[in-house]
């Protein structure tokens, strides 16, 4: 069996928390992203960049985790932006009608700029 764990690194850049998500956001791993979001929000974080550069797969469970995190960070007075999405991931965002809901940036640097 492949490793089921989803690797998520969180790196603090100024006031913004960058979550680097690795590999797949599927029905097995997406709850881990939801849990990570919740834990960071509880510890007082409210601004997030989701770095998708390593994400090769997303299903509705992954979309749900991203949407829930974004809603909660907005409710906490912050925001969530996304960067470095691969074309196949953007395609799923488009089909799901997610593209207008989020600010998408090509790079992490541009995403960070949006918080200034």
């Amino acid at each position: 069996m492949e490793n089921k764990e989803l690797a998520i690194m969180d790196i603090k850049k100024g006031e913004v928390c960058v979550l680097k998500i690795c590999w797949k956001l599927d029905v097995n791993t997406s709850p881990l992203l939801e849990a990570k979001f919740s834990a960071l929000l509880e510890s007082g974080e409210k601004d997030f960049i989701l770095d998708f550069s390593e994400v090769v797969y997303i299903s509705s469970s992954g979309l749900r985790a991203v949407l829930m995190g974004a809603k909660k960070s907005a409710a906490a007075g912050g925001k969530t932006v996304l960067c470095a999405l691969k074309p196949q991931i953007i395609e799923v965002f488009n089909v799901a009608g997610f593209t207008p809901l989020f600010s998408l940036f090509a790079t992490e640097e541009e995403a960070l700029e949006s918080f200034k």
Binding site: N28, L63, R64
Partner: protein, 150 residues
């Protein structure tokens, strides 16, 4: 590098039997990946088909059963002339996922419902899909032209 698909060069069939456990979806994705490799099918399609499988199977596992016992979900894949035809059969309660209302895609972030996206994605990623109830089985069949990039 993606291998070029050659029409008619391959035909194939595969039957996969899953248990009604969520971790079986990962096993299926590996089998589908092998099937795509064996028949040199485009990798963009692999992502889409695995997404379609995950949504349909997780829907069955989460909502299909009214007991806690083991059930089988039988998947038949049939590739011919660049068309992948799939039939997914389960013995859960009668449920037509295609009859669910479509989610509101125009709602702003705060009002956007959290659920209901899975089957919507499926409908938009396959060319044709239909549901039948037959002999106490739910049968969901779909077709996808694998030669298309879209």
């Amino acid at each position: 590098m993606e291998k070029e698909f050659v029409a008619n060069s391959n035909a194939g069939q595969q039957c996969v039997i899953l248990e009604n456990r969520i971790d079986e979806i990962r096993r299926l994705s590996i089998i589908v990946e092998e099937f795509f490799g064996e028949h040199q099918l485009p990798s963009e399609m692999l992502f889409k088909m695995n997404l379609v499988f995950e949504e349909i199977i997780s829907n069955i596992i989460y909502y299909g059963y009214e007991d806690d016992t083991k059930h089988e979900i039988v998947i038949n894949m049939n590739l011919l002339n660049g068309i992948l035809a799939v039939e997914i059969k389960d013995d859960g309660k009668a449920f037509n996922p295609l009859a669910n209302p479509e989610p509101r895609l125009d709602a702003p972030l705060e009002e956007r419902p959290i659920g209901g996206m899975g089957i919507y994605l499926v409908k938009h990623l396959v060319d044709e899909i239909r549901y039948n109830r037959y002999n106490n089985f739910n049968i969901l069949s779909f077709r996808k032209n694998i030669r298309d990039k879209g």
